[in-house]
């Protein structure tokens, strides 16, 4: 990545010091339309006011909202890997499958595909918006961003975004790699981005 440009002026995320890989790490602040996450929608919500993020499932490290359940399910799957026929026939790794099993309604596997990627896309739905708030040039063994990892500026930004729309529910999404979440494909020049 070209580091001569300044992507984010303030440091919003306190990354750990002990990086273990060179893949890099991204942290996105997600602003969910909280009422759309409920099973029983009890009031009118205007249509078409949310968007979604899409990224390859193998870039998923963790979402703070689902991390505990994700890790617990992952442990269960690792124990059952020799005997579970579903897992053996699934295209997802145990880590990815655990993320999907425990992700709904905050994230899910998308039916949308990318012509240059051979892994499924993960979808974060029901978003008022998303902000890239942290970029690290290294990756970590066992770290995902939580609210405790935000700097003072990060906390202030978090609180500011939370207050803008009703029922906003915030999440912190940690992804592996610093490249675009998916490559942009142009009809005439597929190497453009």
């Amino acid at each position: 990545m070209n580091t001569s440009v300044q992507l984010i002026r303030e440091r919003l995320v306190d990354f750990p010091n002990d990086g273990v890989g060179r893949d890099g790490t991204l942290v996105w602040l997600l602003a969910y339309a909280g009422r759309l996450l409920r099973d029983n929608l009890d009031e009118y919500i205007p249509l078409e006011i949310t968007t979604q993020l899409l990224f390859p499932v193998d870039r998923f490290v963790g979402l703070d909202l689902t991390w505990e359940q994700h890790q617990k399910r992952y442990t269960e799957l690792l124990k059952s890997v020799e005997t579970d026929p579903v897992l053996r026939t699934n295209y997802l790794t145990a880590y990815e499958l655990a993320a999907v099993d425990t992700g709904r309604p905050h994230l899910d596997i998308s039916t949308i595909e990318h012509p240059q990627l051979n892994r499924p896309l993960m979808m974060v739905p029901h978003l008022y918006g998303a902000f890239l708030i942290g970029i690290a040039s290294v990756s970590y063994a066992d770290w995902h961003c939580t609210q405790r990892d935000l700097t003072e500026h990060g906390q202030a930004f978090y609180e500011r975004v939370k207050r803008i729309f009703p029922s906003t529910k915030l999440g912190l999404l940690t992804l592996r790699g610093t490249e675009p979440l998916v490559p942009l494909v142009l009809k005439s020049d597929t190497d453009d981005a």
């Binding site: 440009v5 992507l7 595909e113 918006g129 979440l181």
Partner: protein, 158 residues
């Protein structure tokens, strides 16, 4: 802080009279200064235009009214938008076809600035159509992502 049911957020429409019953949605995009980082997102539903491209698109529309062919007009609009949005060859359905939409070039952030259930603006929302709180948020985001380009996309919900 907005009321619990309000989605007007940061918008300050230029008139109180509704123009139509189409809902308005206004999205803030933060265009990454480089293409090697960011997210690619679908064009907002039924996007009218962006504040960065509206004047050029309007000139193309005027040309259409005065004899430019529809095909050429559509090509012009595509060219005008191409620095921000491109035809979608990035995401396809599980049936194998590409969605008939555009996608953004990589962005560092995308956020709903507000939504109305009626249309109040004849054109597109610009910075001047934001409330003081909206302008403060916009300015904050512009400062947070210093080398990026911000633009507002106005979309209709029909």
């Amino acid at each position: 802080m907005q009321s619990e049911k309000s989605y007007d957020g940061f918008l300050n429409p230029p008139g109180e009279c509704r123009i139509s019953n189409e809902g308005e949605r206004v999205w803030l995009f933060v265009r990454a200064p480089i293409d090697s980082v960011g997210a690619i997102v679908m064009e907002p539903y039924d996007m009218t235009a962006t504040d960065r491209t509206y004047e050029a698109e309007r000139a193309a529309y005027d040309a259409l009214r005065f004899g430019l062919s529809l095909d050429e007009y559509q090509k012009q609009v595509k060219r005008i938008r191409t620095s921000l949005f491109v035809p979608n060859f990035t995401f396809r359905s599980d049936y194998g076809f590409f969605y008939d939409e555009m996608v953004s070039r990589p962005v560092l952030a995308v956020f709903l600035m507000g939504a109305f259930e009626k249309r109040y603006h004849e054109q597109v929302y610009t910075y001047d159509d934001l409330t003081d709180d909206g302008k403060a948020f916009y300015d904050f985001i512009r400062a947070l992502y210093p080398d990026s380009e911000l633009y507002l996309a106005t979309a209709l919900e029909t």
